[in-house]
């Protein structure tokens, strides 16, 4: 970020103050002096700013393969659930499997082992279909707990729980939970707190944040 800004500032300086920066190409009198120097020096061209260039051909676009999570295990809490890919509901909220016994992976969030961003897995704490679900135990998560998520390609990624939060839904940090940049992490989400029987919704979200265990242990 600062690097880019720095480059921009340097470039801007060069563009705005071409004479000072020594990148003038005016054909007026100064040019004759420039030409005479050029004859003495083998390189007649000024230094060109180092601007990144990429091949813009369609073939150069690499779309990283996304590994969809298919199962999550949180052994200390006795959680072992199937995970399905889910999108959005009619209100623009994340859609969840009807059964509380199953978890949903937000299909537009990074997959397993993605280089950055949050892999988001959520489930109902309770549902009309099958009652109270395993994610009701998420509120007992403790920093240091291990979670394993299995991918559709047979891979498995271990995570260490970093944080448990219970936040009012109005203040729920969705941008943070569904972050698409930054260090890779796992966001687990369910509901919690007081149930408003009039609206049929819980007032809080329970959010567990976990980070991948160092790659060194992933040799098995």
């Amino acid at each position: 970020m600062t690097g880019r800004a720095g480059l921009g500032a340097a470039l801007a300086l060069c563009l705005v103050l071409p004479v000072l920066a020594g990148c003038s190409a005016s054909p007026a009198p100064p040019a004759s002096t420039a030409r005479s120097t050029a004859s003495a020096t083998p390189a007649p061209r000024v230094t060109v700013p180092d601007i990144p260039r990429v091949d813009a051909s369609l073939g150069s676009l690499t779309v990283a393969a996304v590994v969809a999570p298919v199962r999550i295990r949180f052994d200390r809490l006795g959680i072992d659930m199937r995970v399905t890919a889910e999108g959005l509901d009619a209100k623009g909220a994340m859609a969840l499997p009807a059964n509380a016994a199953e978890a949903g992976w937000y299909r537009y969030s990074p997959g397993l082992a993605a280089p950055e961003g949050a892999t988001v897995i959520a489930a109902h704490i309770d549902s009309r279909h099958d009652g109270i679900g395993p994610f009701s135990k998420l509120k007992n998560a403790t920093a240091g707990d291990t979670i394993t998520v299995y991918g559709a390609d047979g891979s498995a990624v271990d995570y260490t729980v970093r944080e448990l939060r219970q936040v009012g839904k109005i203040d729920a940090p969705m941008a943070d939970v569904f972050e698409t940049t930054g260090a890779p992490k796992l966001s687990l989400v369910t509901c919690g707190g007081v149930f408003n029987s009039k609206t049929g919704h819980y007032l809080d979200n329970v959010i567990v944040t976990a980070t991948p265990v160092a790659a060194a242990t992933a040799g098995n």
Binding site: A25, R45, I51, L61, F195
Partner: protein, 278 residues
């Protein structure tokens, strides 16, 4: 009445201006400028305000983004062996006006008749709606108006050089082809797989020349436009909450119940006493 409304809105405008000026003055955000070379067969130099900025710039290459203070810049595109911005000029000079915080792509390309020209496009960097990606298609080729097909169905119709069309779509890989407007075949370009990615603007350029059989596709992506879902409604019945409070009651419930009974007894006794006095 009319004058009063006018006065009100004028005052409002002043207020807005008063509010807006300090903000824009203090938060002068640099503009982002990318440069795409879409003139086949010519390696060029790009000069900005007279300074050589891109040396030996090859067709089909995207440079940048450059972070530039908002201003108007004079851009000239010359042959790659030019000695100044006014020597062996291929395109320009053109004035590019970059606004505060804007995101632009300047494209060197052919006009419909095949003459080199430059167009400054403003890239749509507004946030995408949750679960959507954006596809921008720009016609910068020496070719007649075109349709863009996704599979076999036209998703963009009658696009002319140098116009663009923007679609907001569910993420998918689209098998896209470009045909002359109003015709289903033959494909002038493609079919080619174009990825529409959540929170990303995929900008596709059709460039080159139909007559010279040099039509091609260039692509640029702008990430970071993602919007998270509106929420996670993770419960339906309240059963978990009831189970939890039931569990809580079972541990402290008897104590509380005992206290309630005692309080009731005290009340009853007090009332009786009051009653006997009357």
């Amino acid at each position: 009445m009319k004058t009063r409304i006018m006065a009100g809105s004028v005052a409002g405008a002043f207020l807005l201006a008063a509010l807006a000026i300090p903000v824009s003055a203090s938060a002068a955000t640099n503009a982002q400028l990318s440069v795409l070379h879409g003139v086949p067969g010519v390696t060029v130099d790009v000069w900005v305000n007279g300074a050589l900025t891109l040396n030996d710039f090859k067709p089909g290459t995207l440079a940048g983004p450059l972070s530039l203070p908002p201003a108007t810049y004079s851009v000239a595109i010359t042959a790659s062996d030019a000695t100044s911005a006014t020597d062996k000029v291929v395109i320009g000079p053109v004035d590019l006006s970059l606004a505060d915080g804007g995101n632009y792509t300047a494209v060197a390309h052919l006009d419909p008749a095949g003459k080199p020209t430059a167009t400054l496009f403003t890239n749509d960097i507004s946030k995408t709606t949750p679960g959507q990606g954006r596809l921008t298609v720009r016609h910068v080729a020496a070719a007649p108006p075109v349709d863009v097909l996704a599979g076999t169905s036209p998703v963009i119709k009658g696009l002319t050089n140098p116009k663009e069309q923007i679609l907001n779509l569910a993420p998918a890989t689209i098998s896209a082809s470009v045909v002359a407007a109003g015709t289903p075949t033959p494909a002038l370009i493609g079919p080619a797989d174009v990825p529409v990615v959540e929170g990303q603007n995929t900008i596709v350029y059709a460039y080159g020349s139909l007559a010279d059989k040099s039509l091609a596709v260039a692509v640029q992506t702008i990430t970071g436009l993602h919007t998270p879902p509106a929420g996670v409604p993770g419960g339906q019945t309240g059963a978990a909450a009831r189970a939890e409070s039931a569990q809580t009651l079972s541990t402290i419930g008897f104590g509380a119940f005992g206290l309630l009974l005692a309080a009731a007894a005290v009340l009853v006794v007090a009332r009786r006493k009051a009653g006997s006095r009357a």
